[in-house]
């Protein structure tokens, strides 16, 4: 427990870690939230290649609240990002919850590319360059210059773990079980008298909300938003992180996202030309030797 308190993913770490690492981990937490939603979908048997839609929506909603509405409060921005993504997911979910497999994956990708196209074309939102944002307060408290990122990181850690714990409870509940049952056999679920559509819809909206929350966190961490957040490679990155970590535990996405961001940082510094190739090789190794993701390594250690 003491070791856990001093691990990089704990609030107290924010005070002692170097600035670049705090930034890297804050981004990892944000992406971990998106992947957490993806894990929920994967447990239901669905893979979305379009979570960038909600990631981008969350980021832009948070940024616009600060820049256009003048409400530069980080807490409000996170709420706005989450709510905006959830609202759009609640509408698109009505359609998407009817589709499965490749059709679900491609349709979700198509919707994300519509947002990307719209953002690129809108000069008012900075077009391909996007725009900068800056949070002045957090839940009413002024963010002192310099310490801002650290404080924000500490709060993010607490909040993100609360969200992960809630999802953990959800997965262990009847609805979580029902989600896994749908992945196995939809026909049987319907013949037991439950609505498959309803469960898929609820999980889809929840995944969208989590991606929106992640988008708002990322926008706050980076201080900048651009259309890349909704681009299909961003969505692909989320799927990559989900497979890297595995769907076995709600903490796996965060571990995996931290490793991913770390690898990216190191690789872009020392091997900028082969960075994507090394990602490809890592994916190959995971699929061949650890199909359950990196989390299975921890499980094995626990079992031993």
């Amino acid at each position: 427990m003491r070791a856990a308190a001093w691990s990089p993913l704990s609030p107290s770490a924010a005070a002692i870690l170097p600035q670049w690492l705090v930034f890297l981990l804050a981004l990892a937490l944000a992406k971990g939230l998106v992947v957490l939603g993806l894990v929920l979908l994967m447990r239901t048997g669905l893979v979305s290649f379009g979570q960038g839609l909600y990631f981008g929506l969350g980021a832009y909603a948070a940024a616009l609240l600060a820049n256009r509405a003048g409400l530069a409060d980080a807490a409000l921005m996170i709420v706005a990002g989450t709510a905006c993504a959830a609202a759009v997911a609640a509408i698109l979910g009505l359609l998407l919850a009817r589709y499965r497999e490749i059709f679900f994956a491609m349709l979700s990708l198509a919707f994300s590319m519509i947002l990307y196209g719209a953002l690129v074309k809108s000069s008012a939102l900075g077009s391909t360059d996007g725009f900068n944002l800056h949070a002045k307060t957090f839940a009413g408290f002024a963010l002192a210059a310099g310490s801002e990122r650290r404080l924000f990181y500490a709060v993010s850690v607490v909040l993100v773990f609360c969200v992960a714990w809630l999802l953990h409870r959800y997965l262990a509940s009847h609805w979580g079980r029902l989600s896994a049952a749908i992945r196995d056999n939809e026909l049987r679920v319907e013949y037991l008298g439950a609505s498959v559509y309803r469960v898929v819809y609820v999980n889809y909206v929840a995944a969208g909300a989590l991606a929106g929350m992640g988008g708002a966190f990322a926008a706050l961490a980076v201080g900048h938003v651009d259309p890349e957040t909704a681009y299909w490679t961003t969505s692909g990155e989320f799927v990559f992180i989900a497979i890297l970590g595995g769907t076995g535990n709600v903490l796996a996405p965060f571990l995996s996202a931290a490793i991913f961001e770390g690898l990216r940082t190191i690789a872009s510094q020392y091997a900028p030309n082969v960075w994507q190739m090394s990602l490809g090789l890592a994916m190959l190794a995971i699929i061949m030797f650890l199909p359950g993701g990196l989390w299975t390594l921890l499980q094995r250690r626990k079992a031993a």
């Binding site: 009847h174 079980r177 029902l178 896994a180 049952a181 992945r183 196995d184 056999n185 026909l187 049987r188 679920v189 319907e190 013949y191 037991l192 008298g193 439950a194 609505s195």
Partner: protein
């Protein structure tokens, strides 16, 4: 008498093949009926129409006074019609216990759970069907007989008024067939459940059914007590004659 299930003028064809040609049948409450017939005679099609998986081309199906045509399997399940499948429909990647927990959870959400809650109700089902020793095993890795039992056990969790069993003993070793049927019939006895089962094994049919309905080419060619139906000339020729394993 007040039948629980009534089929009137039910028709269904797949292209040129008639799977139901003007079926008129009614089933009494708390009765056990076996549907027999060669493959393609229309037995499973009848079950699929009753449960809403297939929609009849014409005719009416009423259950407990409620019209079934046009309702989906979920609605019909909620009205009190449960079924098992010829190929057991399980949640293969999770344990036997998890399979039953899902079923109990769904039932509980509809207010059907036992007073003790989902976990205890699941334990009770495991015990009733002799599935305790398989409880922790993944459903996908079970022997066929156990898969069949689990399939029926899940169907019964919703405490249905009517239970439809599609070939409950097919693919099971001959020595196990009676054991499975004894467990299933024991579980529904005294519960007021109407049972319809499709079966090819005539020993099972004559032992467990009080009434036999014989199908041929989408039509009913004989209907009555097992002794009478199984002796019928047409049944011997079209049903039993074409099922070499059934006369053994």
């Amino acid at each position: 008498m007040n039948p629980i299930l009534v089929a009137q003028g039910v028709q269904k064809s797949f292209g040129a093949v008639s799977a139901a040609a003007d079926l008129n049948l009614s089933f009494e409450r708390d009765s056990v009926t076996s549907l027999i017939g060669a493959n393609g005679a229309g037995k499973t099609t009848f079950l699929n129409m009753v449960t809403g998986y297939l929609r009849p081309d014409a005719g009416r199906l009423s259950f407990d006074g409620q019209e079934l045509v046009g309702l989906d399997p979920r609605r019909i399940t909620r009205l009190g019609v449960s079924r098992s499948f010829q190929i057991p429909q399980l949640f293969s990647s999770v344990s036997v216990r998890e399979n039953l927990l899902v079923a109990e959870g769904i039932a509980a959400a509809q207010g059907i759970a036992g007073v003790d809650g989902v976990e205890q109700a699941t334990d009770a089902v495991l015990e009733r069907f002799g599935l305790e020793r398989y409880a922790a095993q993944a459903a996908g890795l079970l022997p066929e007989g156990v898969r069949k039992l689990l399939d029926v056990a899940m169907a019964l969790v919703a405490q249905p008024k009517m239970l439809l069993l599609d070939e409950p003993t097919s693919g099971v070793a001959a020595a196990e067939k009676f054991g499975i049927m004894d467990l299933v019939m024991g579980a529904v006895r005294g519960q007021g459940v109407t049972v319809l089962f499709v079966e090819h094994d005539m020993d099972i049919v004559s032992r467990y059914a009080a009434r036999v309905v014989a199908f041929y080419d989408g039509r009913v060619i004989a209907d009555g007590a097992p002794g009478k139906v199984l002796d019928d000339a047409e049944v011997r020729r079209f049903v039993i004659g074409e099922e070499p394993h059934a006369s053994a």
